[in-house]
Amino acid sequence: MREMLRMILVLSLICGLSGLTLASVRQATNERIEEQVLTFVQGPSLEQIFSDYDNNPVKDRKTFDLPSGPITVFPALKNGKLTGVAFETFGKGYGGDIGVMVGFDIDGSKLEGVGITTLKETPGLGARVVEPEYRDQFKGHSTASIALKKQGGDIQAISGATISSTGTVAAVNDAVKIFNQIKDKLPTAWGS
């Protein structure tokens, strides 16, 4: 009986201590990990979208509250003036959600461009949405009507990858909706 109690006590004690250690390590690294993820996952796509800016969009990010949940917005500033914003939305792909970073001109009339953040599509087919040939169709596109050619729009889908193409277009359209909701708050958010 005494031995049994000892086993329970020692094992619980060790587990408790590990739990405590892990919780504190997590607390200590949490903020930095978030920053690192943004720099290495979202950061490269921001570089693809904006061409002319002198700030660090990841560092200057701000979170906006929306009815559908909070959204993190990355700004592009030039000489302290806001020139564009970008944020990430998700579309249904063939192998899971496709993360699309959508960049907007500041007045919201046209897109700055799109970049792909996360992707699990088939290599050679759906994964080709990352290629400039497809992505560049969104550069400078009006936000009014974005659709694939066979839906009556002017975006050329990737042959053999209708699902991935539709998913990215849906994500971009979602982003347009979100942009219209936060449009009024944007000019004052970065103090210019």
């Binding site: 086993m7 094992l11 060790i14 590990s18």
Partner: protein, 225 residues
């Protein structure tokens, strides 16, 4: 002092984990596409192995023998999660490369093997020396294998271009089968070297598979064995 050195140095050659004990092969095969990946994985293992040996040795009189494996695993798993978090915070690109193989260090048999065979029976300073030696040996092995595969498969070493434009990369080496072939060749080389060493000392060479402890120092290091 000499005992300390003996426990430290055995992991560097006599009991070199992947090549002599042939333990912990999952990361050896999986992450050695490049020398840098192998080195990074090795560093993570050194950290976990040295600290798990330290903690297990400190707690060895407290842990009841019936639940010792569970205790060792909890210690190892906590350390691995620490490494994972620290790697995400300070070396995110490396974390992206190693991916699932970082959490899998928990089930790497070297960790549990050293805890059970050595740290739970020896005082703290010897256990740490053993963990560091084994960890460094593991790192050197992984870096070596990674270097061979990277040089043949990409023509680079730690990302530096070693070969000129004429080099046609032998991509087989960085695919999964290349890992097995490369490991096999290194093991064969190690065996040949061991036999040559034994012969020069006047001992008989080892032929074919060995089922006793002739080639492995693990049992000899147990007190009373």
């Amino acid at each position: 002092m000499s005992r300390l050195w003996k426990e430290f140095s055995k992991g560097l050659w006599k009991d070199l984990p992947p090549f002599k004990l042939v333990l912990g092969l999952c990361p050896v095969l999986a992450v050695t596409k490049t020398a840098y990946n192998g080195f990074g994985m090795g560093m993570a293992v050194i950290f976990v192995l040295a600290l798990s040996n330290l903690l297990v040795s400190m707690l060895r009189k407290l842990i009841p023998s019936k639940v010792r494996i569970a205790c060792f695993i909890v210690v190892a798993a906590s350390l691995v999660v620490c490494v994972e978090l620290l790697m995400q915070a300070y070396a995110y690109p490396l974390y992206q490369q190693l991916g699932i193989f970082v959490p899998l260090i928990v089930v790497n048999c070297i960790i549990l093997g050293r805890a059970e065979a050595f740290a739970s029976k020896n005082p703290v300073h010897l256990a740490v020396a053993d963990g560091l030696g084994m960890g460094i040996g593991f790192t050197i092995s992984l870096t070596l294998l990674g270097s061979i595969r990277e040089i043949f498969g990409y023509g680079t070493w730690f990302g530096m271009n070693l070969t000129g434009e004429w080099f046609e990369p032998f991509t087989f080496m960085v695919e999964a089968p290349g890992a097995f072939v490369c490991l096999g060749l290194v093991l064969a080389g190690m065996n040949a070297l061991t036999n040559w060493q034994r012969k020069s000392k006047g001992l008989e060479a080892i032929e074919g598979p060995v089922h006793d402890c002739k080639t492995c120092g693990m049992c000899a290091s147990k007190p009373g064995a």
